[in-house]
Subunit: 280 residues, 6 copies
């Protein structure tokens, strides 16, 4: 029996904060930057777009491997006061927080459940959703001097977007807690040493290395490749409930005083003065 | 509605083998040494105390982070013939073994289920329950030259106190079995390299580094911090049945001939001559 | 009550592709080479033998520790066109694939469920079932210059024989995917650094190091040793369903076009030209 | 920040084997029958459509609850020789089997991961993918006299489409194996008694009961409802690797002799004479 | 070595909403009613007390088995407008919600991790935390006509207090979702039939039956009893991450509009009109 | 390539406590009774034999399905003072307890990991290892009036042989604890109602029903059958660590006072007077 083609039509034109380039052998290069002619993106919009792109990539029959990278000295991070202003508008807003849960689930599970492989080329600073995306990618190539930092606790909120699901399986629990609980940052070089990323290379080689690996996979046996990824990711599927527990608690954090204090302190260039916890 | 305060009264005075110091910002420094004026502790008493301290720490509303360290060249280990004499009094005693199960559960789960973070400053040699406590701590700072050794098999007993729960998530299964099955010791430097501890620093910096990390966490957002630890530790909760299987088998070991032989050989400065196993 | 001895009689004489040597202290040295007087083995026969040896080792009351090693510059790998010819005879054959599933299960679970410890001395190149055996061993000692490569994807098939069960627990998911999805090879030295093997030593020391570790375990407390291995391996038992999912998908691969293409290309010394995947 | 609407456009017109009706309160009624004017559907086409509908349902902002039902005395089953002819065209075809894996994953995970609730109204006979869909639905209402049968083993293939994931959690392992391994059929009444379905009611009340439950949920608190479903389904997510192992083995079955024999025997109205298994 | 007694002093006098009676053989009878002379309790206070009692019970060396029951026609449920007024004071209050998370964890894990057995005598209506306590008890004896209802969704909030952890293991997923997602109530008789409770007996026999079972256990072998409970409860420990995910999402619900609407509608004796969910 | 036959030679003659009959279609009927001419078996010998038979059954290429049944009014239980005398010789004996662990593992995992199906025909009373064997069988047919009782706690020991692994998946946790913790017995009829066994039929039909089911499976598609059983049993493999924790604790029980007291009381026809547990 022939199998009918019921694939959805993909609207690739909707992306305004991610620049997309289709390359040979079914490689999709995603650059975390507004395409030419688009204004600087809001954090909110980019967060929304990243939660749709993985299923579009999965659905597109011509695509085989995705590579995601940043520009200049940044992979993906919050920049300037605009980002903080956006976040300061968020706390205490129920609808926005519900949406954040939804998009956090979509980005995380989107990467995990897309059987086609994804490579991150972490060219520079990565934080928050950027770090989540970079580390959830199947193969991660970081610049030796890229600064990686989870940042959730610095902003007064539970680390709920990816770390509980994958860090213990990348670098072990002792290292994971050092960086997540004590909010230490680390370089790509150290990240490679502890297993947090697949490879660390000099800044100028990051993208080429990632594209080379993508090329290798794009010309490999596609079904075998996808079933191997799928099978390996059962480790992450098994950790899904723990991840979603952290996500629920992160959502709680959006209604408490510490996020506002952290962001305000950042704007005012002073250390935050977090609230006294409940006595119990 | 106001929430009534039903917290238990904590008797901090009961500790005779651990020296406690309350420091700024809710940090509790626990030194593994008898407080001034108390006699040298028995192993038995210390094992009992460590099984109570984590819930006292969790219950005390003024405390936020615990740091545990040793003195001189020891973090926590069996020392001299007194310790061996104590252990030689133990085998074959059903009540003592039941109590050992109970306290093993209390120490292990006490650290894991206390949502407030715990930092170990492994200043020197760590073995047995000392190693368990040092490695179960959320963040572990070891002296580069500290000697770490599990030691269970050297004493003829199953490694049942913490290793099955956490070693594979710290340093991977190949390394875990090298040290646990072949009873190799390792330095803090090697431990850091394989992910068994969070950090290794020169001996003179161990406590200050640990206190610095504790300070950082103690001034961070407390609920977000505790929920992040709690969520990460689901990895350990999931491994609880395997840990308790090892604990049950360790209890069995207390009734066999190998523990007595191991200890006797140690007293007599000769290699042990372990029993022939069952043929099956 | 005396316990009757119902042990099966072991036919050690059936091994024609593995050279067996019984050494002091119950150590069984398995060399991956035909015993004197036997012809060069087929891959098929060796795969069958490895699926029986672990339970024979487990059943033999005089044996305590197994050490498995190769000869010359090879641990265990496919060599020459003979091997490829054998594999080219396999695809599309339902019975052979059913047998392959059976033997894949027997080798993997045989190592995991044998409570007696197994040490691999990976003296040289390891690939396919050889790599599986080397890495599933409890303690693995690799030559610093040994070349390790999973090779499944290079042959167009899903990596279904051991990697999903154990790699993420050895070296973390980021490294595992680099080597498994992008089919990178790595040396013993790198393997040790990322935790894939327990130790890496110069080529000339591999076997002696492995035998030394075996000796240490063979003179240790046997029940405690076996219960510790057993308890640690619950981590692998928990990952069994994911492993068998990968095995099922690997079996599927044997009926597709990519395996034949990969092997043919290898014979013809050209890069493979894998099939277009389904559009969905 | 307003959240931009990037939802995909849903092509509801592509469904030719399922009749769709949008009812009050966001209820989507799916009847397993070709819409007016469409020819009798092939099994292949219906299998494809069911693998797309759950994400369309999830994406449509106006929909809240889905109800799926059959017509006459059938919920969803293979009927007549046409279905068998289709299946006889399938075995040994690699591409069709790859597609079957893909659609099996899509239907199963589509129901599980759609956070909006789904109710099945099992009005009559359910078998194969029909039974999978009926039992994976969150709430299942069966006619007391509906005949339920898994049927995989009757067709000579591994039961790989849903049963391993959910039967043990519905009716326990002893009952699951009775019906799955011994290919017993059971009525809706018995199914309710053992927990396989939520409710059994007389034939004439099946759809109304299902719609009543759907109504109740559709007017309930939507976020709380979806998060509760999502959290409960972690039980199924944890069983995903086991399910996919069964799926891989089912795929294997498509290349063996037993499926063809089973279908041929059915056409010839004689008992099947299945192949001798491998001796091992 | 004698084992020193470091048990905490238990302040049994702090309980004002639970009447405690110590009976023969170490049985503690907990009646969910204010002791004589105490005013009618608030829901808040009772919720707090239930979160402390299990560890007090566990710590008291004279106690062996706990039995918990209600009075009249109620086991434990919200009664009258006072309860609603209390709850209406709660939503949107971050501190109260943090405390609710804490107490939800304490009650649930307190029952699960207390190795001494607990019997519930569900004499009448049970809802909310009352139902959680009744069903988490190791052995539950319900009156055949007791009305059980989860009630979370009726109040507009995620079912986050116990159901995700234990319902699928009590009555299967199909039944669990019927009662939890569609907010159906059920009698004790039905609950017994589907496995939700251990036993259902006529109203007049509930307490005696429960006490008889408690007596049986209290005169049994205590260590064997506790280790059996402990081992069985690993099933619940493994489900802990999923439970806490539901708890996190329930906490989120406290900041949304649906809880207030549900309670207000209840006061106003009208059906609730829940908010439109986010379109995505 | 032809696959060489390396199957071990099976010594079927070693069984002296189990009567074996090979029937048509590869069915092995195991009757729990000494073969003609053999003396009444000891419990110890039977326990040993049951731990070998499943792998012999799995290895025999002519066998497809096993059926196990008892004689007269007993399936398998301890009978008379001889059994008690044997057990009274056991406690405190380390070697015997080690062997008991080994055989407990072998029987349990032997049934679970044998991919060929096993049917139990529970014709009469089943207790201890008999109950374990009867309930671990894939399909269990019980006489409506057969008395089933776990009995571990009645003998003062932890229920460590199978119940933790499988009862919660058969009948749910509330029922499991009623029978396991309160040592209630139940009939086959009740067992079927709660899902503990697959079927209950009148005494005279038990064996025929079991043989009929065996016949049905023996003439089905063997690979599909075995892979379906294998996949379903991943649920049990995942519960293995919890089971082995209970086994370890049961082993502990053999060194305590309660087993001796229970057996002595039984001999003396008086209620046991179990030891005071540790105060903690």
């Amino acid at each position: 029996m022939p199998i009918d083609d019921l694939r959805p039509t993909i609207d690739w034109g909707k992306y305004q904060t991610l620049t997309l380039e289709r390359r040979d052998n079914g490689i999709l290069l995603i650059t975390i930057a507004a395409p030419d002619g688009y204004p600087a993106p809001t954090l909110t919009r980019r967060h929304t777009e990243i939660s749709y792109i993985w299923r579009d990539f999965a659905d597109d029959p011509e695509l085989r491997v995705a590579v995601i990278t940043g520009t200049g000295e940044r992979f993906w991070t919050v920049e300037g006061n605009d980002g903080i202003d956006e976040m300061l508008a968020n706390p205490g807003n129920y609808d926005n927080t519900v949406n954040l849960i939804r998009e956090g689930l979509a980005n995380t599970h989107g990467i995990v459940n897309c059987d086609k492989p994804i490579v991150s080329a972490i060219n520079g600073e990565a934080m928050g959703s950027g770090l989540a995306t970079g580390l959830l990618a199947d193969i991660s190539v970081a610049s030796t001097d890229a600064r990686l930092i989870d940042g959730h606790l610095l902003q007064g909120i539970t680390a709920g977007d990816h770390s509980v699901m994958i860090w213990p399986l990348l670098c072990g629990l002792a290292k994971a807690k050092l960086y997540l609980l004590a909010s230490e940052d680390l370089t790509g070089e150290v990240a490679e040493r502890i297993g947090l990323v697949s490879l660390a290379v000099p800044p100028s080689e990051v993208l080429d290395t990632a594209l080379g690996i993508a090329e290798r996979m794009a010309t490999g046996p596609q079904h075998a490749l996808r079933w191997t990824k799928r099978s390996l990711n059962h480790w992450l599927r098994t950790a899904t409930p723990a991840f979603e527990a952290s996500l629920g608690f992160e959502a709680m954090s959006f209604f408490g005083p510490d996020l506002v204090e952290a962001l305000t302190a950042q704007v005012e260039h002073r250390p935050p003065n977090f609230a006294e916890p409940l006595p119990w």
